[in-house]
């Protein structure tokens, strides 16, 4: 703050604070308010919503559809995010680490393409792939008439999301693996460590910070993603209705804007808990000097 003074510093920060206030704090407060009304998209309550206190929350928490949605979301985050994207991303990065030249480029490009293709296009491709009549997968497997999106909706959106999001983990772990000191690996090899032992005792301790960052980001993204809606629309009969889709279906097509806002707030709180949990783990790590470097590297990778 030297040379600027309190006022000068404040002036510099003011625009950012104003933006945060306008686009983050205000909507959050507004959501809290809306969540306590019976506001609807149409009908009398659209013009004249009344304050209903915590009725919406009572309704939501007593609604089996909410709990099913929450359960589906947890399965979705665990299977497609934490296990699927992270493990597959790491496996690809590990397999590619010593490759160079065109093969590496080809694999990386393919994985990245899945990430870069606009969601609407990607979901259309998947619908075409999985279609019951004349879908590509059915043609290949000879399973004509199998309605993958109806019979296995959760499995399909999990695979879809792994396909979409693996690129991020791959990129992050690629740069993380590059930061493992070669001398340590070399010594381990000289001491006769097997591939698995090198991975467990040299690589993972070195990239622990990256793993933490990756897991947090993937968890938050997967928790909040709406893209599966484009593939299954939450159907059939809510069998793939993860939380973001559940909110949309309740608030917009269902017209219950007040209830939708209340669920949004619940979702916001869950997000906060996840983020705080991560911060706590991160701080605990930073307090231990031996691993501080790794954590810093992770922070650097995450913001770049």
């Amino acid at each position: 703050m030297a040379g600027l003074g309190r006022f000068g510093a404040g002036a510099f920060v003011a625009p950012a604070l104003a933006l945060i206030g306008l686009f983050l704090v205000f909507p959050a407060l507004w959501t809290i308010y809306l969540g306590m009304t019976d506001y609807r998209l149409t009908g009398l309550q659209a013009v004249d919503p009344s304050f209903v206190g915590l009725d919406n929350y009572e309704q939501i928490l007593g609604d089996p559809a909410f709990w099913r949605s929450l359960r589906l979301t947890l399965v979705f985050v665990l299977a497609s995010g934490i296990v699927g994207q992270s493990l597959l991303g790491f496996a690809i990065a590990w397999a590619l680490r010593r490759l160079t030249g065109w093969l590496k480029s080809v694999v990386e490009t393919l994985v990245l393409a899945a990430w870069v293709i606009p969601a609407s296009v990607a979901s259309f491709l998947w619908i075409a792939l999985l279609d019951r009549r004349g879908g590509t997968l059915n043609e290949i497997l000879g399973t004509q008439g199998t309605a993958w999106l109806i019979e296995h909706p959760m499995a399909m959106i999990i695979i879809f999301n792994i396909w979409v999001g693996t690129a991020f983990s791959m990129l992050l772990f690629s740069s993380a693996l590059a930061s493992v000191p070669p001398s340590q690996l070399e010594s381990a090899r000289m001491a006769g460590a097997s591939g698995w032992q090198q991975l467990r005792d040299v690589v993972i301790p070195n990239i622990r910070g990256h793993i933490l960052t990756n897991t947090l980001l993937i968890t938050l993204w997967t928790f909040n993603t709406f893209t599966p809606y484009l593939v299954t629309a939450g159907g059939p009969n809510g069998a793939s209705e993860i939380l973001a889709v559940y909110i949309y279906n309740t608030a917009i097509p269902g017209g219950q804007l007040g209830v939708g806002a209340a669920i949004s707030l619940i979702m916001l709180l869950i997000n906060l808990v996840i983020a705080l949990g991560y911060l706590r783990v991160g701080r605990a790590r930073a307090a231990r000097p031996a691993e501080a470097t790794a954590a810093e590297t992770a922070g650097g990778a995450a913001t770049s």
Binding site: P27, W30, L34, G43, L220, W221, I252, G254, A261, M267
Partner: protein, 470 residues
């Protein structure tokens, strides 16, 4: 994707904010409203050239717009009319225009389903026609040509909110070729549900054929209610709403759901997966056109706009429609068991067009709407594809040329039942769809009916629900 929740909340919040701002100002599309200046009017409808309701879209684009613009320019006014085409599921279309109207935007003339009138009117999204369009509305010649039943489709609390654009009815369609293969009569008139099931059992012997397609589940939306639950309910003699009360788990509803259970869960006469597909209704159309469905409950829309042999009109054209496709009245559960002791039943819907209260040129918009509903416009509208118009004068001329629509006009419209024109109806409709979805999924009809009654209490309040008569 990082801030999906925040974005959603932000979107919801800003929508609300827009709604509030728009309520204070006078929003709306279009150019300047000054006389003499160029004026733009917009029309929107769930119709699109080459897709859904193509005939209507082509008519608006190729006839209404040029004719109206020419007439206006003769009168010395520079008017441009734009048509915003949509070709999506009715539920998605409804969401879009509700958001448009809520934010004070939207086209000057909007095509809507009659059943949305109540909830839109209560929300203040639409207003009585004469309040928007001025005195010219009540003195319009067209009202004398439209029966009260037709006008009621676009009315709410005895006020006209829009101009209806037709009348319709529901029948059972059947494939005569498949019937011949199964040894069933070409000229078929079942008199009870059991006879329909019997025909379905005979059809079940043919490979690759779905004997009976009866719409179910939430993915089909209002089609499930209109072409499924409600005609069945009418056939049991009960109604979804009667004597000022919503009816809960009545015996009629249990019987209707029992029929779903028989068709889908117990005897496999229908394809339960088709009921859950996102594009299930369109797929059912395509399969019927391909000769893979024996019996289908649908409205006359299906005949006019779906299996119409004209490929520029039908979304699933059948070249030999007139020879192969039979149609017959929907029987009541038992002869005489229908509403008002009827032997056969049907449901009447009705769509129409409303004026946007946010319009900058409401009187001119009314002029355009009246023009679209003139006898001349309807004669032009039905020239390529006959449909039952709301106007008696036009119907008298055109229906004679189409045996199917004459059949609907003479035999089906008189036995039509109508949906309650109440704001709560669309939510009740969803609860009915959920009940059928549960039954198709294996839940017992009794359980599904009880769940429906609970849902109904949640929607309209316990004091407005007449509990089941069981």
């Amino acid at each position: 994707m990082v801030h999906r929740t925040r974005r959603l909340t932000a979107a919801l919040a800003s929508l609300t904010a827009l709604g509030l701002v728009a309520a204070c100002s006078s929003g709306g599309d279009g150019g300047g409203g000054d006389d003499g200046g160029a004026v733009t009017l917009t029309i929107t409808a769930n119709a699109i050239s080459g897709g859904k309701n193509a005939a209507e879209a082509d008519w608006i684009r190729d006839w209404v717009i040029p004719e109206f613009q020419a007439a206006q320019s003769e009168a010395g006014r520079d008017v441009t009319v734009e048509f915003l085409e949509e070709g999506v599921d009715d539920e998605d279309y409804k969401t879009k225009i509700a958001l448009d109207l809520q934010s004070g935007e939207g086209a000057d003339i909007i095509g809507i389903d009659g059943i949305w009138v109540g909830e839109f009117a209560e929300a203040g999204y639409i207003m009585p026609l004469s309040e928007v369009g001025g005195d010219a509305v009540d003195s319009w010649e067209g009202w004398d040509q439209m029966s009260d039943a037709v006008q009621s489709a676009m009315s709410f609390e005895d006020q006209r909110y829009g101009v209806p654009q037709g009348a319709d009815g529901r029948v059972l369609y059947y494939n005569k070729e498949l019937f011949a293969q199964a040894g069933l009569p070409e000229d078929w008139q079942p008199t009870s549900w059991e006879e329909v099931l019997e025909a379905g059992r005979s059809l079940a012997g043919i490979d690759g054929v779905i004997p009976i397609q009866l719409n179910a589940g939430t993915a089909m939306g209002e089609a499930t209610t209109m072409q499924g639950v409600l005609p069945l309910l009418a056939g049991t003699g009960s109604e979804v709403y009667s004597d000022g009360m919503w009816n809960g788990a009545t015996q009629g509803l249990r019987d209707a759901l029992e029929l779903y259970a028989t068709i889908y869960a117990e005897e496999g006469l229908g394809d339960p997966i088709l009921q859950q597909e996102a594009a299930g209704r369109d797929n059912s159309f395509a399969q019927f056109a391909a000769g893979e469905i024996g019996i289908l409950l649908e409205g006359d829309y299906f005949w006019r706009s779906v299996i119409n042999p004209d490929e520029s009109i039908g979304t699933a054209p059948m070249a030999n429609r007139d020879e192969i496709v039979g149609y017959t009245l929907i029987p009541a559960q038992e002869p005489g068991s229908g509403v008002e002791g009827r032997d056969f039943v049907s449901m009447g819907g009705g769509t129409g067009r409303v004026l946007n209260p946010n319009s900058e040129n409401p009187e001119l918009a009314w002029e355009l709407l009246a023009f679209m509903n003139s006898a001349e416009a309807y004669s032009e509208r039905v020239a390529g594809t006959v449909s039952i118009t709301p106007r008696d004068d036009v119907n008298a001329e055109v229906l004679a040329g189409d045996p199917m629509l004459s059949f609907v006009s003479e035999n089906v419209l008189p036995i039509n039942s109508y949906r309650p024109g109440l704001a709560a109806y669309p939510q009740v409709s969803v609860a009915l769809q959920e009940a059928t979805a549960a039954v198709v999924d294996g839940t017992s009809p009794d359980e599904a009916a009880e769940a429906y009654e609970q849902a109904l209490i949640g929607i309209v309040g316990e004091e407005n629900v007449a509990s089941g008569d069981g």
